[in-house]
Every structure is written in C-alpha cells, then in structure tokens.
Symmetry: C2
Subunit: 154 residues, 2 copies
Amino acid sequence: MSEINKQILTLEGFFPYKLSVSSNKISGLFADIYQDKFALSITQWRIMAILGEYPDSSADDVSNKTHIEKSILSRAINKLLQRNLIQRAFSETDKRRSMLSLTSTGIDVYNEIVPLSYEYEKQLLTCFNATEKAQFNTLLEKLCTHSDSLKGNN
Amino acid sequence: MSEINKQILTLEGFFPYKLSVSSNKISGLFADIYQDKFALSITQWRIMAILGEYPDSSADDVSNKTHIEKSILSRAINKLLQRNLIQRAFSETDKRRSMLSLTSTGIDVYNEIVPLSYEYEKQLLTCFNATEKAQFNTLLEKLCTHSDSLKGNN
DNA sequence: TATTATTAGTTGCAATAGCAACTAATGTCA
DNA sequence: TGACATTAGTTGCTATTGCAACTAATAATA
C-alpha cells in the first residue's frame, strides 16, 4: 500500500486531454450555431451534410462515412424525416436498404448552413497562417491513421 | 425554394469535423484502457488525476480545472467516494467547501494508471518526431486560445 | 431449395449528460 | 444586524447515448 504518488500526471499537459478539450470547445461552438439557428444537433447536421454530398446514401452508408452508431443514426434520421428535412425511399432491389436524400426544405437549410459553416471555419482558422493550416492538417491526418493502427493491437 | 445545392460541404475535409473525429477516436482508446482495467470513466479518472496533482481541491476547483459540469462532477465524486478511491472532508472555515483527496487505495490505482497513461501517450505520439510534437502543441494551444476568444463575441 | 449466416434498420433498456431548480452557507452593504 | 446576493454542492427531470436484442430481407452453402 503506497501512501505517496510516485509520479504525478499533469492533466493539463497530457496530450489526449488537451486534444479533447480543444475539440470539445470547438464542437460546442458549432453546436451552438446549428442549434440556435436551425435546431439541429451536430449529428443531425452531419447526416444532412453527407446527404448533400452523397444523395441517396443509405443509413448504413452514412454510418460508415461518419462513424455515427446505427441506433443513434436511426433516431436522428427519424427526427429529420419528421421535420421534413430529408426523405426516405427503399431500394427496389434490396428492400432493406434505405435511400435518403434532402427534401427541398432540407436543401434550403443546407444551402444556408454550408456557407455559414465555411465562414465559421475560416474565422476559426484565422489564428493560423497558410503553412500552419497545412501543418495542422498533416499532423492530424498522421495522428488519425496512427491511432487507427493502435486500436487493433491491444 | 432552391432545388439544388449551391455549394457542397465536404464533411471529411471540414476542419472541426476532422478534429472531433480524431479526438473522439483517441479518447475512446484511453476510455477503454481506464474502463477495462479499472472500471473508471474518463471523467472519473480526470477527477482522480486532478486530486493526484492538487490534493484537497474542492469540487469547484476540480470543475474549474477540468470544465466538468458540476452536476456531473457531483455524481462522479459520489461514485468515487463509494468505491473508496477518494475521500472528502469539509473546510472548517467554509462548511460548503469540500476538500477532496485520494485515499490510499486511490493512490494505488493512481500510481498504476499514471505510468500506463504516459506509456500510451508515448505510443500514440510515436507517429510524430520531436519537431512535430512541438508543432502540434503550439498549434493546439493557439487554436484553443483563439476559440476562447470566439466564444464571447457572437 | 431448405438451412444458416449476414446485413439493414429499429427498438428496449439502463446509464449518462446537462439544464434548472433547489438547499445551505457565506458575503455584501445599507 | 437584517435583507439580499452569491457561492458550493445536490437533486429532479428530460433528453441523449450506446449496447444488445430484435425483425425483416438478402446471401451463401450444403
């Protein structure tokens, strides 16, 4: 039974902690924007974003592209259907497979959110010059790939 | 009523999205470690980490240092008390103010988790050389400061 | 072609999150 | 000192999360 800490962890300097704090801070910023103006959660907006980019995706496609868990996705999709922001058909050849797309209302909202998002992204990135932006992207990319490889082998 | 998307948002290239995805991926990695071996949530571990670093902090101190919302904190603290990982006294001069610290069991767990955390952090950062690590830290720092400044003025 | 496995999506349920209202203690200031 | 404000922490309530079990459709295989 040890009575003293052999080694101290400095939480505020711990890399995963710092990353999580900044990311949550920024997500919160965007969450507020989507929520206040359009009553959309980040999850809901991400679904719409994917459908803007890839119309007629299935729920499963969306899940694969965004890593949103399928039960969460199912419920988020239902809310978007209820609000008539997206519509759903089922594939003729595979009746399980949904085909989701933005409705015209959805497209209107999408067309408002997209430039707004880019504008806020730009504002966020004003703290970086071009080199730094490129650096950050490269580093994030590397980190992401590497953390994927760690997931398997433990 | 517009029928087509004027501008498409590429979600997988959108900076806040990428940051959030990598951060969640990495948080998940660490969450698994703390959960599997010690049945601790990230929140619970963060509280313990703060108490290892700053013994006799109050719940409010912990909240300020970690930005954990106070109701979440209150319940997490109760679970740690139940498991006898932390102990609580109340200040003599201000009976509202709690004084939290790790118990000897808590210190044992802490002493196990700290080197493990650093080890996993090291493994995570093997994808970076020294320069890149420094770069990432600088950039994260900048970003964090800047996003704080954005929080206010909207 | 019958049996079994896989896949898409939904739903049940228990745990967690987080806002708001609350209690109790302390601080402020007329 | 007494009225009011603030602070520390707890609790109620509703919404969200996410695992696991489920249904229904399709694929694979013997």
